[in-house]
Symmetry: C2
Subunit: 242 residues, 2 copies
DNA sequence: CGCCAGATTGATACACATCAATTCTCGTGG
DNA sequence: CCACGAGAATTGATGTGTATCAATCTGGCG
């Protein structure tokens, strides 16, 4: 299994990290391409989490905030009766646990092995006072994530199962688009259950749709976590809503 | 009809404005209760919009950002084939149109008559450089909105129609909770169509559920936009997921 | 008074969930 | 090296929550 392969070979500094977050929303990374080094980096400590390990639980006191350095993290919530919804998949550069005060409202878990930076709220506050540019960067990341979340809302509120899956696959491909990389080939960092819980569907439906798309020749896969987009244009048409 | 009544009697300054945004997520207002006056206020110009007037269209160049001063604003997106999803209802203190660069991804429209402040991106940037505390406040608002959006994702991804409506009504009531106000009585700023498009349902289903709740005695209304919560506890139980 | 948009109510359709087997994959130990 | 077991994915049969289609009702307004 290719647990950690989806986001592989991450640059040591985030300055050239690919845009993360899902949806076709341009992603602000904390460290801009140009000039200044990542201003947040020296403030945190990096922790490595194994696949499916919990970073924090919903309800924990929110004393720290985090940033993904490598790998994929999910934010999720489980209802009393066991229904689970994933609110976001986060990748390199994404902030999370950015709670003003009180408790985390979602759990954060490593989808793949992941390196995560941890910051104390207090130190971040101090740092933004000292360096206003950093505050603006954080604002940029947060507003990009908000835009992603709104896209996700549209997907869940109004798209059919086929549209959801097509949109997701295209987002994933778009997110990985970089010079010199084959963006026809998408490696899913997550299994069908995660996918279902992100898309607001059941595992069975996701499986049926994926295989339906395969049968129609829009995609191909033998390994369920390694998907080739054969007809992106047809997928685009299917994902009409953006 | 009580178009503008849902959020009435807004204080001139936002310093004592009620927490806005939906979901039971604590709301950071831009102007904190204590000390300093609203730092953003002098930077913007206030514009009044009539009910259903568009503030900006999805696809417009994002040169300004906004803040709600009074009334309710919706962020929404319509697909080619006419499906509409409302991503958020915004009320006093909420920021919107906070796009880094490029175009707005959602349209913003006045649900009720509304006063909105308009800021140029550039001036905001300058101001945050001058006053880092302002940057932190904006971050707080954005992260609160992100939390709201994530709640909305759970609602759309995993809740039944009854659970969605119950959750919505309770959020609305919670949002209005203030000393000296009757929080059993909820005035909806929006009609059934807006409600449906926010909750990811159809008008018919919303209507059926509202009348179902009325029949069960959990709520009461004669005017469809003025709802009394008769058994908040039962509604809470129905809205299990949070 | 009669129009019209919004809300409600009813009958029916369908997309997806649910329940229930298989099949596949891979790690483990004999 | 292969049998075994367990979790993941797939596939099939059936059920159901909500959408869709279609009236009807209601209240405000010209």
């Amino acid at each position: 299994m290719h647990a950690t392969s989806a986001i592989r070979a991450l640059p040591a500094t985030l300055s050239s990290a690919p845009p993360a977050s899902f949806s076709n929303v341009p992603k602000a990374t904390l460290a801009p391409s140009a000039s200044s080094a990542d201003p947040l980096a020296p403030l945190g400590t990096t922790i490595t989490y194994g696949r499916n390990q919990t970073i924090y639980f919903e309800g924990d006191e929110a004393e720290h905030c985090f940033r993904v350095r490598s790998g994929t993290v999910r934010l999720c919530k489980v209802t009393e009766d066991g229904r689970r919804q994933i609110a976001a998949f986060l990748t390199a550069g994404d902030l999370f646990g950015w709670v003003e005060e009180g408790e985390y409202r979602f759990s954060a878990e490593a989808v793949t092995d992941a390196k995560v930076e941890k910051f104390s709220r207090r130190r971040i506050d101090q740092a933004t006072t000292a360096d206003p540019a950093m505050g603006r960067r954080i604002m940029a990341v947060l507003s990009a994530q908000l835009a992603c979340a709104h896209q996700h809302v549209v997907l869940l509120g109004r798209l059919t199962a086929y549209e959801r899956v097509a949109t997701f696959l295209l987002d994933l491909a778009r997110r990985r688009r970089q010079p010199g990389r084959d963006d026809r080939n998408v490696e899913l960092a997550m299994n069908r259950r995660d996918l279902a819980d992100y898309l607001g569907l059941t595992v069975e439906t996701v499986s049926r749709v994926m295989n339906g798309l395969k049968r129609k020749g829009l995609i191909f896969f033998s390994d369920p976590e390694d998907v080739q987009l054969k007809q992106s244009d047809a997928l685009e048409r299917m994902a009409l809503a953006a």
